[in-house]
Symmetry: C2
Subunit: 220 residues, 2 copies
DNA sequence: CCAAACATCACGCAAACGCGTGATACCCTG
DNA sequence: CAGGGTATCACGCGTTTGCGTGATGTTTGG
């Protein structure tokens, strides 16, 4: 790739990855129409975009379809963030792809636009993403929040006593019963008793399972 | 509390919890100004709001300051979501409280408005939240996404071999070396060797620590 | 081609663990 | 006041672990 003919130092370079030509061109028009933004690269696949990315000219921001043939928008975003960490990637999604939001977040996407987004929403999103924000449709935001609170609210009701939680914590920290006895100022046998009760309540029968359950269900 | 004088079956009941009287009243005006919404309860603290919540009249949606004296907006939101799970809670925040966003999410908040939000943003947020969305300022959204990807992208480079990962998985699942040997069709001693290598690479010296590290750093 | 990494197997031993089976003492609630 | 939950302590036994110290065979890359 040579210097893009339409490159301009004052404008932000926007790259667009989208396999549907019609849609891609309509988005490009919107971008070029927005003052301060220029679509200096448009690709039908991430494979092509990544080839070009090795060159000198890099985008300030990327808009990418999430469901692409070949390398998906998610994989592409992950690659792009490795090569140019500074450039935010905004995913273009349709409602049905809500389940991919999680993966996209892990890939480091910085925002989510619905494909039905209006011109105003798109230019607003470009601005927000470049200002350190993450533009996001409220329905997608809800999905994200739900995932988050699910991850952190596993309603645990194992009725562990205070002492038992204390012992469990030490188990997770890898202490032996002897060490715990010393630490807590009680007998080895008492620690042993607590451990048994913990195993019973958590319905496990070895340290590994107890530790796994404790961490996974945030019991400590 | 008796029947709110201004209650109207057609309108959505909005409750407002905010300790600053001036700000509270200005928000109330905005709410009442919005067609379809009525501020039927305004409180200077969650304690007062929760008293009233025991009554018959419940809000359709709640707007709450995040930093309140006494019971915080986060604790309040958690209580409210237990009593009336259907009513979304939108948190009102200032920029400095970004660190509380995480706790608020866990408490089940459904949206985040900056205190500097405009009238349009507020009424838009009410609509979005009641439509199953989560209105959110892009900067807060970015915070959320960053937390998410941090939680799921701990760059682990312990160089575990395939076999070692396999054994580690079984350790986390609570299997004994003997059981693993059977499962993998190899000798007990070989399993033992793998375990030693894993311990060395993870820099631990007991099962508990290995399990904890494996789960916390998503090695499996 | 040879060293390095990997996967495999082996023995022994002290320490730690899991569990069965007890006991004593302190609360608090019905 | 009796009974249940909690915390404490005790002994024994078979199993499992962690580790020192070896060995052999295969694959891979400089």
């Amino acid at each position: 790739m040579t210097v893009p003919a339409n490159h301009n130092d004052q404008d932000k370079d926007v790259w667009l990855i989208e396999d549907n030509t019609t849609y891609r061109e309509s988005i490009e028009l919107i971008i070029d129409n927005a003052p301060g933004y220029l679509c200096t690269g448009q690709f039908s696949s991430w494979e092509k975009a990544l080839e070009t990315l090795t060159g000198v000219y890099q985008p300030d921001i990327i808009l990418s379809d999430i469901g692409l043939p070949g390398m998906s928008g998610i994989e592409g975003a992950a690659c792009a963030r490795k090569k140019i960490p500074g450039a935010p990637v905004i995913m273009l999604t349709v409602h049905d792809e809500d389940d991919k939001v999680f993966d996209a977040i892990c890939a480091g996407a910085s925002g989510y636009l619905l494909k039905s987004a209006t011109e105003v929403e798109i230019t607003e999103a470009l601005y927000q993403a470049l200002s350190g924000g993450s533009p996001m449709n409220p329905h997608i935001a809800r999905k994200v929040l739900e995932m988050f609170s699910e991850m952190n609210n596993p309603d645990q009701q194992y009725d562990l006593t205070g002492r038992e939680k204390e012992v469990l914590t030490h188990i997770v920290n890898g202490m032996t019963k002897k060490a715990m006895a010393l630490e807590l100022g009680i007998s080895f046998h008492t620690v042993d008793a607590h451990v048994r009760h913990i195993y019973e309540k958590l319905q496990v029968n070895c340290r590994s399972d107890a530790v796994a359950k404790a961490i996974r269900e945030k019991l400590i």
